[in-house]
């Protein structure tokens, strides 16, 4: 089954991105496809390579990037939401790309399920 994932919160205020990450990993381990994760609202902050969590905390920016590299997940950051919050090509973490909101609608159209994680 194809799962599209929508994440609407950043890694440091809400649990949404953590839950989405564990869901995505579990889905991939079960043999499902997760072709695209779309980052919207403050979710764009998951793609900020300048973020430096403390050493004893998980680093979701890196974890998402690793998952993308290992499992070929397309991580898309909303261009408009990113511009407002200062997420641009200059500080975009590895594994992410910036594109339009149409990519979210396409994920909804092309996947069997669109799973939403927000606050």
């Amino acid at each position: 089954m194809k799962f599209g994932i929508l994440i609407n919160e950043g890694p440091f205020t809400h649990q949404a991105s953590d839950t989405a990450y564990h869901f995505t990993k579990a889905a991939l381990e079960k043999g499902h496809d997760v072709p695209r994760v779309f980052f919207y609202y403050d979710g764009v902050n998951n793609a900020n390579k300048l973020s430096e969590p403390q050493a004893d905390d998980r680093n979701l920016v890196k974890l998402w990037g690793q998952l993308a590299a290992e499992k070929n997940v397309d991580l898309v950051v909303c261009v408009a939401a990113g511009m407002r919050r200062g997420i641009k090509d200059e500080n975009l973490a590895d594994g992410f790309r910036i594109s339009g909101l149409g990519q979210l609608v396409e994920a909804g159209m092309g996947c069997d399920r669109l799973m939403m994680f927000g606050d």
Partner: protein
């Protein structure tokens, strides 16, 4: 990273946009409306639903001059125009519904006359059927 290509040719789904938050205190309302407008480019069916404090998004007479924030209320005029185009143009295969949950509206002492655009007022039971029948639910 490899850009994934979805096969979307001829795909027609029903999206429900569930707006449950009051305007201006958070950004959720505005960004959901942006998604609604983008979905029009893909000619997808949409239920644009307002429940709980989300009904205040539709309230006529938003004046944000005192708080210095952008008044997004005019976006509803654009949504209403898109809906009218879809309703009237036979070449556009797209059904849009603007729905307010009756229980949420009445709990806040509002009536359909308080809203900026024309809406369908549906009971929770009627709305439950509509949400249940949709393919994608995007909430804000």
């Amino acid at each position: 990273m490899a850009e994934y290509e979805f096969e979307t040719e001829g795909v027609k789904k029903t999206f429900t946009f569930m707006n449950r938050k009051a305007p201006y205190g958070t950004v959720y309302a505005l960004e959901v409306l942006e998604t609604v407008l983008i979905s029009a480019a893909f000619e997808q069916h949409a239920n644009i639903v307002f429940a709980d404090d989300g009904v205040y998004q539709l309230k006529a007479g938003h004046d944000t001059t005192g708080i210095g924030m952008k008044n997004f209320s005019p976006t509803f005029g654009i949504i209403e125009m898109e809906k009218e185009d879809a309703d009237e143009d036979e070449d556009i295969d797209m059904v849009w519904r603007i729905i307010v949950e009756k229980e949420s509206m009445e709990a806040r002492g509002l009536t359909a006359d308080d809203f900026k655009v024309e809406v369908e007022v549906l009971s929770a039971a009627e709305l439950a059927d509509i949400v249940d029948a949709s393919d994608c639910v995007i909430s804000g």
